[in-house]
C-alpha cells in the first residue's frame, strides 16, 4: 500500500503528541504482518482475498459532488448538529446551538478540535487500539486520520437530539479514515448517528474507521451506526466503548453494504452498575463477507452487558460472528449475555459462529447462544393457510426477524429510513 504512504497527511502545525501517535501508527502498520488464517482472531475470514493494495487518500471531490452529497445526507432531520465528509474532506458542518455551546458542549471536526482543544484531544484521541486482530489497520488509521467528529458533553448536560455524522466515499480507489470520538462526562446524556455511504454503486473504496466512546460515571450514550457502502468497498470498523460506573451505553448497528466488512467491537466495563447494550443487524447477499468480532470485558462487578447480533444471509454471502465475554477475576455479580442469530435464506450462504466465554469469577450470570436456521416451515405454513402468498409470508418473517433490532434505534424517522434501505437491498430477492 505504498501509494498511501507517499501521500502523508499535512502535518504542519501538528502538536508533538499527535506527531508521535501518527509515527507510532505508521510503524505499527509497517511492522505488523498482514493477517493470516492461522491467527485465531481471523479464523473463517477469507484473508486470502483481503487486499488493500492500490487504495490511496483521494483528491478532494469537486464542489458539485460535495453539494450533491450534502443534499443526500438526509436520514435524520431533527438533530443537534451535523457533519458531512466526502473522501475525508469536510462537505458540511452544522455546529451546535449557542445554548449548547454556552453549556460547554464541544462538537467539532477532528482537525479543528486538535487546534482548539489540544489537551482534551491529547487525553482521548487515538488512545484505543484494537485487540481483535486489526492492529495493523489501526496503525494506518492513526497515521492518516483527518476526518471525523469529536463530541464532548460536560458534566450533567443532557442533549436529547442526536448528532449526525455522514462519511461518504466518492473518488475511485479512495481510502478514507473516519473517526468518531464521544466523551460523555459524568451524568451527561448524548446520542450520535454515524452513517457510512458511497456516492455511487461502483466507486471502489477502502474504509478504516475508528470510534471511541468514553462514558464517565452515570453518563448515558446512544450510538447508532448505519453502514451501507456499495459492494466495491473494503471496510474496517474498529470500535471501543469504555463504560464507567452506573453508565448506560447503547450501540445499534445496521450493516448492509461493503464487499468485505470487518467489524471489531470492544467493550470495557470499568465500573459497577454499568449497563452496555450492543445490537446489530446485518443483511448479507451476493458474495459479501461480514466478519464481526466482539469482546465484552467486565473488569468491574455488578454490571450488565448484553449483545444481540442478527444476520440474514442470501446467495453466496458469508458471515462470521466471533464474540468473547471475559469476566475478570473478582468481577462478581456480573450479568453478561451474547446472542447470535443467523437466518439462512439460500442454501449456498454460510454462517459461522464462534461465541466464546472466559469466566474468572464464580458469582456471575453469563450465557451465550447461537442459532442458525432457515425460515421456520411451520410458521410459513400457518401464514399460507391463512391466505398469505408464500413470497409475502417469507417477507413478513424476514422483516420480523429484523424488527427486533430496528425498533431499538428509538427514532421513528431513522427506523423508517432503515427499513427502506433494507427493503431496497433485498426485497426483490425473496422468493
Amino acid at each position: 500500500m505504498t501509494t498511501v504512504l507517499e501521500q502523508a497527511t499535512n502535518t504542519t502545525n501538528q502538536p508533538a503528541w499527535l506527531s508521535a501517535r501518527r509515527d507510532g501508527g505508521k510503524a505499527q502498520f509497517e511492522m505488523l504482518p498482514a493477517p493470516t488464517a492461522r491467527d485465531e482472531r481471523w479464523r473463517f475470514a477469507s484473508v486470502g482475498k483481503l487486499s488493500i493494495d492500490g487504495f490511496a487518500p483521494a483528491a478532494n471531490p469537486t464542489a458539485d459532488t460535495l453539494t450533491g452529497l450534502v443534499g443526500r445526507s438526509n436520514l435524520v432531520s431533527d438533530r443537534a448538529g451535523q457533519l458531512v465528509f466526502a473522501d475525508d474532506m469536510q462537505a458540511q458542518f452544522e455546529g451546535i446551538s449557542e445554548q449548547l455551546a454556552a453549556q460547554g458542549v464541544i462538537y467539532l471536526p477532528v482537525l479543528d478540535a486538535i487546534a482548539q482543544h489540544p489537551e482534551l484531544m491529547e487525553k482521548y484521541f487515538l488512545q484505543e487500539s484494537t485487540e481483535l486482530g486489526s492492529e495493523k489497520y489501526f496503525g494506518l488509521h492513526a497515521e492518516l486520520v483527518k476526518a471525523g467528529s469529536i463530541l464532548f458533553v460536560p458534566k450533567g448536560v443532557e442533549i436529547e437530539k442526536p448528532f449526525v455524522n455522514y462519511y461518504w466515499t466518492s473518488g475511485e480507489k479512495a481510502a478514507v479514515f473516519p473517526h468518531t470520538l464521544i466523551i460523555a462526562e459524568a451524568n451527561s446524556n448524548a446520542s450520535v448517528v454515524d452513517i457510512f455511504f458511497s456516492e455511487t454503486a461502483t466507486n471502489q473504496a477502502l474504509n478504516v474507521s475508528v470510534s471511541n466512546i468514553h462514558a464517565a460515571n452515570g453518563a448515558k450514550v446512544f450510538r447508532k451506526v448505519v453502514q451501507d457502502w456499495n459492494e466495491k468497498t473494503v471496510s474496517f470498523q474498529l470500535d471501543t466503548t469504555i463504560a464507567e460506573r452506573d453508565t448506560l451505553v447503547k450501540n445499534v448497528a445496521v450493516n448492509i453494504g461493503a464487499e468485505r466488512a470487518r467489524f471489531e467491537n470492544q467493550t470495557r466495563i470499568e465500573g459497577p452498575g454499568a449497563d452496555v447494550k450492543m445490537y446489530s443487524l446485518t443483511v448479507a447477499e451476493e458474495t459479501q463477507e461480514f466478519d464481526q468480532r466482539t469482546f465484552q470485558t467486565h473488569n468491574a462487578g455488578n454490571a450488565v452487558s448484553d449483545l444481540l447480533y442478527k444476520n440474514a444471509l442470501l446467495d453466496n454471502a458469508r458471515t462470521i460472528f466471533s464474540g468473547l465475554i471475559k469476566v475478570a477475576e473478582g468481577a462478581q455479580q456480573t450479568d453478561a449475555y451474547q446472542t447470535n442469530r443467523n437466518l439462512l435464506l439460500d442454501p449456498t450462504a454460510e454462517a459461522n459462529a464462534l461465541p466464546g466465554l472466559e469466566i474468572l469469577a464464580n458469582d456471575v450470570k453469563c450465557s451465550h447462544g447461537a442459532t442458525t436456521g432457515n425460515v421456520d416451515s411451520e410458521e410459513l405454513f400457518y401464514m399460507m393457510q391463512r391466505g398469505i402468498a408464500k413470497r409475502d409470508a417469507m417477507k413478513l418473517m424476514v422483516f420480523g426477524f429484523f424488527e427486533e433490532v430496528i425498533e431499538k434505534v428509538d427514532s421513528d424517522e431513522l427506523a423508517d429510513n432503515l427499513r427502506e434501505l433494507i427493503r431496497n437491498k433485498f426485497e426483490s430477492k425473496i422468493h
Binding site: 443467523n342 442454501p347 472466559e358 469466566i359 456471575v364
Partner: protein, 474 residues
C-alpha cells in the same frame, strides 16, 4: 531432580513393589529407553514382531510428529512442559495377553484389586481387557461372545491376526497427520483394544477395559479401534486410574470407532489420571447410514486433558452424540469438547457438556459443528453449562459453528452459574454440613448426565465427585 526427591521416589516405588513381588525397573523385560528416535520406533516394532507395513506406518508417523508444531497457538501453554526426550515410550512385561484370571501375576492382581476389577467381574460384565503398562496383561471374554464371533484383542494382536478386518479402518477415521499427538500415538502405539462385532450382533452387556500408568515418565500410547458391522450394537467402557509420581507423565491415546450401516456404538470413558498426567487424546467415530455413535466422557483427573471426541456423520440419517462431564480442581485444566462433522442429509447431532471448576481449576469447552452447503435437514443441538464453585474458579467456552445448506438448524447455548447461597442454606438448615450440601448441589447439577452412565459407573462417579469436593468450601 534433587537427591532427596529421588530417595522419596525410590521409597515410594519400593513400597509398591514389595507388596506384589514386582521389581522396578528390572522386571520390565523390554525397555525402549528414554526419548524418541527412529531406533525407538524400530525397537518397539521389533519387540512386538510386527509386519513390515506396521513398521512403515510407525516410521511415517514419527516423521509427521517431528514436523508438526505444538498447538500452543490456541492451546494451554502448559504443553511446553512436556519434555519428549525424557519420556519412556515403551515398556512391557513381555507378556502375551492372559486368558484366565489364574494366569495373571499376583502383583498385577494386587493392583487391580485396588481398582476394583474383580468386583466388576462379579457384576457379569461381559469381558475385561485390563492394560498393565503397555501390554494387555489380562483379557477374557465370556464364551458366548466368542461364539457370536466377536473379536476382542489388543492392538498388536488385532493387526497381526486379523489384518483383513482391522487394516482397512486402521488410521482411517483419525489419519496419522490429524494432529501432533495422533502422529505420536501412531508412531509408538502399544496396547489398547481392537474389537469387531459381526453383522447384527447386539451385545447386551458392555465390554470393559481398565488402563493404568505405573512407570514414572512413561507415556502410554494405547490404540483402540472398534468396528460394529451392519446392525451391530456395542457399548465399551474405559476407565483410568494412575498412581502419583513426581514428574509429569504423558498419556496420548487414539480411539477410532467405525459404525457401519445401522450400527450403534456407545463409548464410555471415566478418566481419573493422577494430577501430574498430560492426557492428550484423539477420539473420533464414523457413522454410516442410519448408524449412531455416542461418546460419554467423564474427566476428573489429570493435570491437563485435551480431548474433543468427534463424530463424522458420513451416511444419511446418522446420529452423533457427545455427553461429557468435567471436573477441574486446583492445578487442573480440563480442556474438553466435541466435534460434529455433518457429511450427509438428515444427520443429527447432540452435544451436552457440563463442567465444574473448583478452587483454581479451569475447565474449557471447545467445539466444532460443521454443515456444508449441499446438505439438507441436518440438526445440531449444543448445550454447555459451567458451574463455578470458588471465587477464583475459571471456565471458558470456545465453540465454532459453520452452517450452510437447506433446512439445517444449529443451536448452541451456554451458561455459567454458581451454586446458589439459598440452596446451600436450605440444605444446611436441614442438618447437612456445608461440604455435604455443596456435594449434593454439584451432584444435582450433573445428575441428568449421570443417568447416561451404567449404574456401577455412576455410583463410582458420585463417590469421585464427593472426594473432589472435600475441602472445597470453608
Amino acid at each position: 531432580m534433587s537427591e532427596t526427591d529421588t530417595e522419596i521416589q525410590d521409597e515410594a516405588i519400593n513400597v509398591d513393589t514389595e507388596k506384589g513381588n514386582f521389581k522396578y525397573p528390572e522386571n520390565y523385560e523390554f525397555d525402549a529407553g528414554v526419548g524418541l528416535t527412529e531406533d525407538t520406533v524400530k525397537y518397539i516394532s521389533n519387540v512386538k514382531d510386527e509386519d513390515q507395513w506396521i513398521l512403515d506406518f510407525r516410521l511415517k508417523a514419527l516423521e509427521i510428529f517431528q514436523k508438526k508444531p505444538m498447538p500452543t497457538k490456541w492451546a494451554d501453554k502448559d504443553l511446553e512442559n512436556i519434555h519428549f526426550d525424557e519420556i519412556r515410550y515403551y515398556l512391557s512385561k513381555g507378556q502375551v495377553p492372559a486368558r484366565t484370571w489364574d494366569e495373571v501375576p499376583d502383583d498385577v492382581k494386587e493392583t487391580f484389586e485396588r481398582l476394583g476389577i474383580p468386583e466388576q467381574e462379579r457384576k457379569f460384565l461381559a469381558g475385561v481387557e485390563a492394560q498393565f503398562d503397555s501390554e494387555a496383561s489380562y483379557s477374557r471374554m465370556k464364551e458366548d461372545l466368542e461364539k457370536e464371533g466377536v473379536i476382542f484383542v489388543g492392538s498388536t494382536e488385532g493387526l497381526m491376526k486379523y489384518p483383513e478386518i482391522f487394516k482397512p479402518y486402521f488410521g482411517k477415521v483419525i489419519p496419522t497427520s490429524d494432529n501432533k499427538f495422533s502422529a505420536l500415538n501412531s508412531a509408538t502405539f502399544s496396547g489398547g483394544s481392537f474389537i469387531y462385532v459381526p453383522k447384527g450382533v447386539k451385545l447386551k452387556q458392555p465390554l470393559q477395559a481398565y488402563f493404568r500408568i505405573n512407570a514414572e515418565n512413561f507415556g502410554q500410547f494405547e490404540r483402540t479401534l472398534i468396528i460394529a458391522d451392519e446392525g451391530a450394537e456395542i457399548t465399551y467402557m474405559e476407565g483410568c486410574t494412575a498412581p502419583k509420581f513426581e514428574t509429569a507423565t504423558l498419556h496420548s491415546a487414539v480411539v477410532e470407532l467405525v459404525a457401519l450401516k445401522g450400527a450403534k456404538i456407545q463409548y464410555i470413558t471415566v478418566q481419573n489420571w493422577s494430577s501430574n498426567v498430560f492426557n492428550l487424546v484423539t477420539k473420533r467415530g464414523m457413522a454410516d447410514e442410519g448408524a449412531e455413535v455416542k461418546w460419554i466422557d467423564c474427566n476428573i483427573g489429570s493435570r491437563l486433558t485435551m480431548k474433543y471426541p468427534g463424530v463424522v456423520l458420513k451416511g444419511k440419517g446418522a446420529r452423533g452424540e457427545v455427553l461429557s462431564i468435567a471436573l477441574a480442581n486446583d492445578g487442573q485444566h480440563q480442556d474438553t469438547g466435541a466435534k460434529m462433522m455433518h457429511l450427509a442429509d438428515n444427520t443429527t447431532s447432540n452435544i451436552i457438556s457440563k463442567s465444574i471448576s473448583i478452587g483454581k481449576g479451569r475447565s474449557t469447552y471447545r467445539g466444532q459443528v460443521h454443515m456444508p452447503k449441499h446438505l439438507k435437514n441436518c440438526k445440531n443441538n449444543t448445550e454447555c453449562d459451567a458451574l463455578l464453585i470458588n471465587t477464583n474458579s475459571r471456565t471458558d467456552t470456545y465453540p465454532a459453528i459453520t452452517t450452510r445448506g437447506e433446512n439445517n438448524t444449529v443451536q448452541h447455548e451456554a451458561s455459567v452459574s454458581k451454586v446458589s447461597a439459598e440452596q446451600i442454606f436450605y440444605m444446611m438448615q436441614r442438618g447437612l454440613n456445608e461440604g455435604e450440601a455443596m456435594s449434593l448441589a454439584v451432584n444435582g447439577f450433573v445428575n441428568e448426565l449421570m443417568k447416561a452412565f451404567p449404574m456401577e459407573y455412576s455410583v463410582e462417579l458420585k463417590r469421585l465427585i464427593d472426594m473432589e469436593m472435600e475441602g472445597s468450601v470453608g
